[in-house]
């Protein structure tokens, strides 16, 4: 493989292969590229047959697509991972404390650490959550923190994803696929298991049930239905946990509880892992047009008879304007310095910052405060003059809607191409499970990779792929 110039390569150092990749490289150098390409095709056929697909929004034919899978793993040493996981745990703890504070005493606002109008004008803030504490004080039961790397010891958090992060099914399927295709690799190289995730998820959800539930709590996964882009993941997780996959119309309020319609009548449920956005959760409280939620569920929730995971209103902690305050939030609630760094973030709401951003658009990445999925963003260095000019107009019209960040030199991991290995930019989404008694982080997470040479956008909706992520045994 040719040595990469300015970006940090996770596999190659100028003087050779980096430690975590040594054993893999030794194996890879003995492989026949044609055989590997054939394996890649087999993997794709397997994904299709199994229906591991996502639906693309905004396309008339409602086509189901595959997320391309690259069979070169992304490898982290145990030391690298330990630091990352400690950093994630600290951050997740702080975010939960922040949410509890925001919806109760609001001390962080009174202390002036976070400006009041960031909360007051925040669409994700739900007044219905004020003066209410969810079971065990947990708000974000599942978190998928997006992390990028720029150097040997340089990790940055890009987004906290405290609402309903997706992608964990790909992490599990990617590992399963690798185990099937290359069993010999896993007997040579000791990789930490990820397969306990569904079991741990269920345990974590059960531990968050309302107090006083008799016997084993009844957990369900709530999906918007088979046309949702992440439906595969919803059914996969329900299946792997051994719980029911429900839609809004399967549920209703029965005697102050939420119950599901079974073949033998209504059965009370205790914990809902919902993959439906806040807005659609309860037509009586939020969007009255919603067919995806359960009328009256918020009353049952506030009465303490159902646990909704993640809690409604957690979005107030993960928009991109609050993001820029997370290091201060960590320090405020934990008394410690944040282990993981934030990317430097310019808040365009401030006039002199806006001026700076407008003058430097060609070097910056500009994102919508509430955007996600890689939509509605500008990657300055990759944009044309016209795209930059058009974006500047949008920015001037509604500056508070945007933040800007320097273009990071994202690390690369090789992918398999017809010509052999070639470096591509990656990010990492580890998944943390939060219950009243523990925070559990599955070793590794989902590595997303920008398949186009030079591209920095890894989102699957924008042509990104995924890789299996290995954390080596210590």
């Amino acid at each position: 493989m040719k040595k990469e110039d300015k970006h940090f390569s996770e596999m190659m150092r100028p003087d050779g292969v980096r430690d975590p990749y040594q054993n893999y490289d030794a194996w890879f150098s003995k492989q026949d590229i044609n055989r590997l390409s054939k394996k890649a095709q087999e993997a794709e056929a397997f994904f299709r047959r199994t229906g591991i697909t996502f639906n693309v929004y905004g396309q008339a034919d409602a086509e189901e697509r595959l997320i391309p899978f690259d069979l070169v793993p992304r490898i982290l040493s145990n030391t690298e991972w330990s630091k990352l996981s400690r950093g994630i745990e600290q951050r997740v703890r702080a975010i939960n404390a922040f949410l509890h504070d925001i919806y109760n005493r609001q001390e962080i606002l009174r202390a002036g650490v976070v400006p009041v109008d960031l909360i007051a004008n925040n669409e994700a803030f739900l007044p219905q959550m004020m003066d209410f504490t969810p079971a065990g004080g947990v708000y974000t039961h599942i978190v998928g923190t997006d992390i990028v790397r720029t150097g040997e010891d340089e990790f940055y958090v890009l987004e906290d994803n405290a609402r309903t992060p997706s992608g964990v099914s790909y992490m599990l399927e990617n590992r399963e696929t690798m185990l099937q295709m290359f069993p010999e690799l896993f007997s040579k190289i000791r990789v930490q298991r990820v397969s306990d995730y569904p079991k741990n998820l269920r345990r974590s959800l059960e531990a968050s049930a309302p107090p006083g539930v008799q016997g084993r709590p009844c957990v369900v996964v709530l999906t918007p239905g088979i046309h949702n882009s992440a439906y595969y993941e919803h059914s996969f997780l329900a299946d792997q946990m051994g719980v029911e996959l429900v839609e809004g119309h399967d549920l209703r309020v029965v005697d102050g509880n939420i119950a599901m319609r079974t073949t033998r009548g209504y059965k009370v449920i205790d914990v809902i892992y919902r993959r439906v956005d806040d807005e659609f959760l309860d037509p009586l409280t939020f969007n009255p047009q919603s067919m995806l939620g359960v009328p009256g569920i918020m009353d049952v929730y506030r009465a303490g008879n159902i646990t909704i995971t993640n809690a409604p209103g957690t979005g107030v902690a993960d928009d991109k304007a609050i993001y820029s305050y997370v290091p201060e939030i960590v320090e405020f609630y934990t008394g410690e310095k944040a282990i993981l760094k934030n990317v430097q973030t310019h808040r365009c709401s401030q006039p002199d910052t806006l001026k700076f951003v407008l003058e430097n658009l060609k070097d910056l990445v500009v994102k919508e405060v509430h955007g996600s999925g890689g939509y509605g963003m500008l990657v300055g260095p990759a944009a044309s003059k016209k795209e930059i000019a058009d974006f500047a107009e949008k920015l001037k019209a509604k500056p508070a809607n945007y933040i800007a960040q320097p273009t990071l030199s994202l690390s690369t991991v090789p992918i398999l191409t017809d010509a052999g290995l070639a470096p591509r930019h990656v990010d990492l989404r580890p998944f943390a499970l939060v219950s009243p008694n523990a925070i559990d982080i599955v070793p590794g997470g989902l590595t997303r990779v920008a398949l186009t040479e030079g591209s920095l956008v890894v989102n699957s909706s924008q042509g990104g792929g995924t890789k299996d992520t290995w954390v080596l045994e210590g």
Partner: protein, 313 residues
């Protein structure tokens, strides 16, 4: 189990059964059209009538011929009962109830859908028709095999079976009813060429032309054929076989759930009606009248199952 899941399983298997039945009808029609010269148009028409699609077909076509009928029944998206349409319904339901299916059953259905999306993208030329029909049969066997070989024998399995046999019972009744005139004893005088064609058509429509030879020690005549299709408990597409399956699956469910159901009573009633009759008394009652009542009671049974097990909110 969720009521919705029970409904999804039931409709998934009804749809799969319907796909196979439609393919079988086309196969019978195609064969008759190839080997006999007498009036192929009315044969093709009777196939459309059997599929309860006469109005929809005539809104689109003027002529009942092999090209129009096979295209309409195989791949017309405007025909909710075309093979392609029902395979999509089956697959959508399978996705809906994915958590209740084994990987084998799910991937066999998903694969079937992928395959026919591809094969039935363009009209099927006559030369390829046998191959396409064979593929439908093969895929149906694949799903059935995965279902039989890997699914737990619990309520999930029972709802799948209910879907299969209610659909099959409806289909067999319709096939006989459309040709009932050919099966009346008056029509059974020896050697009529026309009747031989009709009988062969009926037997082929339920894949029973070889079975009849093996199982029935008697002539190809109307009472023998009607008896075989309606009352013989050995033939897996006979009405008697379907009712006995339905009764036993509904009994399992009643046992499992600890309460008898109204649908079990209805199924037992249908089963008794067959058990207590011989073919002579059915002819006396009037074959057409018997079948009409049977078809409407089958549909009532379907509605009762939906209610008893809360398929819908």
């Amino acid at each position: 189990m969720l009521g919705k899941t029970a409904g999804g399983l039931y409709w998934m298997f009804r749809s799969l059964e319907r796909a196979g039945n439609t393919a079988r009808l086309i196969e019978a029609g195609f064969r008759i059209a190839l080997t006999r010269s007498t009036d192929p148009e009315s044969e093709w028409k009777s196939i459309i009538v059997t599929s309860a699609a006469q109005a929809a077909f005539e809104a689109k076509y003027n002529v009942y011929d092999s090209t129009n009928v096979t295209d309409f029944l195989l791949r017309d998206p405007d025909n909710p009962n075309s093979v392609l349409s029902v395979i999509k319904v089956a697959r959508d339901n399978a996705r809906l109830v994915r958590t209740a299916l084994t990987t084998e059953v799910w991937s066999s259905v998903n694969e079937t859908w992928m395959l026919f999306n591809h094969i039935l993208k363009e009209p099927v030329p006559e030369t390829d028709l046998p191959e396409v029909l064979a593929a439908i049969r093969q895929q149906a066997s694949l799903v059935r095999g995965a279902h039989n070989g890997t699914m737990l024998r619990n309520d999930i399995y029972d709802f799948c079976q209910l879907g299969t046999f209610i659909e099959r019972m409806d289909s067999t009744s319709r096939i006989i009813d459309v040709k009932y005139h050919a099966l009346l004893p008056a029509a059974s005088f020896v050697g009529s060429r026309m009747d031989n064609v009709q009988w062969e058509m009926i037997l082929r429509s339920v894949s029973a032309h070889a079975a009849f030879r093996w199982a029935v020690d008697g002539d190809y005549n109307a009472p023998n054929i009607a008896n075989f299709l309606i009352l013989d408990p050995r033939l897996p597409r006979s009405l008697a076989y379907c009712t006995s399956q339905l009764v036993s699956n509904l009994e399992y469910l009643a046992q499992d759930y600890g309460e008898p159901s109204k649908s079990l009573e209805l199924a037992q009633d249908l089963h008794a009606r067959l058990k207590n009759h011989d073919i002579g008394s059915i002819f006396d009652e009037g074959l057409h009248e018997f079948l009409t009542r049977f078809i409407s009671d089958t549909s009532a049974l379907g509605f009762q199952v939906e209610q008893d097990y809360r398929f819908n909110a």
